[in-house]
């Protein structure tokens, strides 16, 4: 018997019924919703929210737009990353759209150096907001990792980067309400830890695949 035929025979022997994965967008929305709820709950539980933050959200259109942009970016990336974990379902344009929205959202803060959305202030400052952002991202990363491992991501490093970035940016986004508003503080201590979460996730998966002797992709 040729090796290929032997392999096919072995795979047939190993066959067990499986439940097909359907509604991948639904899974993405489930992960996003639960992660967002968890982030909001844990941030409220661990410290007070900036006084007047919700009033600013309802009365300042640009502040609302800023936050909606961040939310749309994370949501789009969440859907794109789940779709990328099923062969043939990944969409480069969706990923580009998610990345573009995220860049647009982040770009609002350097713009704030010239024309700030809100009056910069120390009001509501959380002492360890950068650590909070990183730590609160961990449970969504683990939950997402477990959900995606059950699928079949082809480009694991890329999927890890986007998943961890989305998970890291959720607490980073809510820190705009929970912590002080000042563009440089936001960029250094909210956004940067979110980006670092993405980089760490990608690096861990890259190293893990390299250790396994597989091409780190």
């Amino acid at each position: 018997m040729k090796p290929r035929e032997e392999l096919i025979a072995a795979l047939v022997d190993d066959l067990a019924p499986v439940k097909p994965v359907v509604n991948i967008n639904g899974r993405a929305l489930l992960w996003f919703s639960l992660s967002a709820l968890y982030v909001v709950a844990v941030i409220h539980a661990m410290g007070p929210i900036r006084p007047g933050a919700f009033d600013q959200l309802t009365h300042n259109g640009r502040f609302l737009l800023e936050n909606l942009l961040g939310l749309a970016a994370v949501l789009t990336i969440s859907i794109a990353v789940f779709r990328a974990s099923v062969p043939g379902l990944g969409s480069r344009s969706l990923m580009v759209a998610g990345g573009g929205l995220m860049l647009l959202w982040i770009a609002m803060y350097p713009l704030g150096f010239i024309s700030p959305t809100l009056e910069p202030s120390m009001l509501g400052k959380r002492e360890f907001c950068y650590i909070e952002t990183l730590v609160y991202a961990l449970p969504p990363i683990i939950a997402g990792g477990v959900m995606l491992r059950r699928l079949y991501p082809l480009n694991r490093v890329s999927v890890a980067w986007w998943l961890c970035l989305a998970a890291g940016m959720l607490p980073a986004l809510y820190m705009q309400l929970a912590c002080m508003y000042e563009p440089s503080h936001i960029l250094r201590l909210h956004i940067l830890p979110g980006l670092i979460a993405g980089l760490i996730g990608a690096a861990v998966v890259w190293a893990w695949r390299r250790r396994q002797g597989q091409t780190p992709k």
Binding site: A9, V21, I24, P87, L154, T215
Partner: protein
Amino acid sequence: MSAIGSTQYSEDEKRWAQLMVSSQAGDDAEYGCLLQEISVVIDRYLRGRFGHHDFVEDCVQDTLMAVHQARHTYDPCRAFRPWLFAIVRHKAIDALRAQRRRDVLIDSSATEQLNELEGEASEDHEQQISSGRLINSLDQPYREAIMLTKLIGLSTAEAANQLRISEGTLKVRVHRGIGRLKKMIEAEPV
């Protein structure tokens, strides 16, 4: 695509989708049939693009294993081909990236004889590889770099020496060449 070809294409699509649905339910006879059929298709697809080379057989087998591991991700409401060929393309590029220099332990007394044999083998390889449409469509610098390092199996130093370029330049050409192959293979309709 001709009318007959188009009919065959859609018949294959329907049959494979049906076979995969049965496989997901645990029907091993249908699964065996599906794997046999797609292994031939994958083999033909890869040889048409990369030429007749040993790594193609490895790639076919890797793909079959991937299909086995990923079979739960096939959604019966979707077409089968895009799902299958996403795996095939990924495995092909992955296999090409992972190609390493073949380690040959040689007895010093047989060096000359081996060099002659390797020379002949390289020519054979080049002829076989040149039938690969995708490889052939690469620009010459990238084609040469990939053929020498990934398909013939020379080390970076040997290939750089043969092409009279630095090792760094060769690595860049290989990297870019694989990137171009990836783009080309992803742009092809299934």
